[in-house]
């Protein structure tokens, strides 16, 4: 099965996208990412140390932009202006790399997105030449609007960021998929392998996760599990599942029974 995931001008073979937050250290981050088989890796943009810990290892020394497609995020931004500024700094930092993950949060407690600011920031970024993968609510109308605007991937949440609750509303994800012309990638909320498989079986083009791997007891093993789950879920989607029936339906012949 040699399918390609096309995101804007770039193509990928892995459908699992992973974050780099919450790991014990940078060695574990790198090992988990290698085990996951992910090609797209998210990072956050923050102030550097000034003086203190000047020789602290840098994330990009472990996760090289030559080997992975780095996807800078705008996590921690609560308005369009901050998110746009972060994307511009990321583009300068990564030598003109224009692929970004836009997320504009609405509140600290649920980390649900502020969709008004998300749409406004997406518009400005697209006009400025960015390829925008956008974290958004699982609302079919907003998702369609972001798709129509020219975001290269629309990424509705499965459930709140870091919650591990899985795909809480598969019906809305299905409606979003029906209306989409760009890859729909479930972003946030996946807790374990079956959650990732469910998202893929619904027809999502990929799954983005961080905490589910980083906060597993064995992150490397969970990274492998997620890789397998995404591949299995995709295969099951392409294979097309059997119809559900309410009653039993024997698998063995009902004729020729020994009397």
């Amino acid at each position: 099965m040699s399918e390609v995931l096309q995101i804007g001008s770039r193509s990928f073979s892995s459908r699992l996208l992973v974050g780099t937050g919450k790991y014990k250290d940078l060695e574990e981050t790198r090992d988990a990412i290698i085990a996951s088989g992910a090609e797209i890796v998210t990072v956050a943009i923050r102030r550097t140390n000034i003086g203190q810990n000047a020789d602290e290892p840098n994330l990009l020394e472990f996760i090289s932009p030559d080997k992975w497609t780095i996807l800078p995020n705008t996590a921690g931004c609560f308005n369009a202006e901050d998110a746009i500024r972060t994307c511009m700094l990321a583009r300068e930092l990564l030598d003109g790399h224009n692929l970004v993950k836009l997320e504009v949060l609405g509140e600290q407690k649920t980390l649900y997105p502020n969709m008004t600011h998300t749409i406004s920031a997406a518009k400005t970024l697209i006009e400025d030449g960015f390829e925008v993968m956008v974290y958004c609510s699982d609302d079919p109308i907003f998702c369609k609007e972001l798709d129509d605007m020219g975001c290269v991937s629309v990424m509705p949440l499965a459930s709140p960021i870091g919650s591990g609750l899985g795909v809480v509303n598969p019906h809305t994800i299905s409606i979003i998929l029906e209306n989409s012309s760009k890859p729909i990638i479930v972003d946030a909320g996946v807790g374990t392998a079956s959650d990732a498989a469910i998202a893929m079986e619904l027809g999502c083009e990929g799954v983005l996760m961080n905490t589910a791997i980083a906060k597993a007891k064995d992150p490397i093993l969970m990274a492998e599990a997620m890789k397998d789950a995404v591949i299995s879920g995709r295969k099951a989607f392409l294979a097309g599942r059997m119809q559900k029936t309410e009653y039993g339906n024997a698998s063995s012949p009902t004729e020729g029974l020994i009397e």
């Binding site: 937050g21 998210t42 943009i45 550097t48 020394e61 995020n73």
Partner: protein
């Protein structure tokens, strides 16, 4: 040489005047790392770090990539 004061990542810093952004990055041991500099709300491209001098009361932000989801 006279001294100037500026803001760097939220802290007030004093240096001798006439220092460029490239010299500041070098002092912070950032030269071999990936980073971006914004001064007074404007991103200063890498190609201009050597020729851009730090101004009195400048507000400078230097960012890099860290773990995130």
């Amino acid at each position: 040489m006279s001294a100037i004061k500026f803001h760097l990542n939220g802290e007030i810093i004093q240096k001798t005047s006439g220092q460029s952004l490239a010299e500041l990055a070098s002092d912070l041991e950032l030269t071999k790392k990936k980073f971006a500099i914004e001064m007074n709300g404007e991103i200063i491209p890498k190609s201009l770090h050597a020729s851009t001098l730090i101004e009195e009361d400048a507000v400078i932000e230097i960012v890099h990539a860290v773990g995130g989801g």
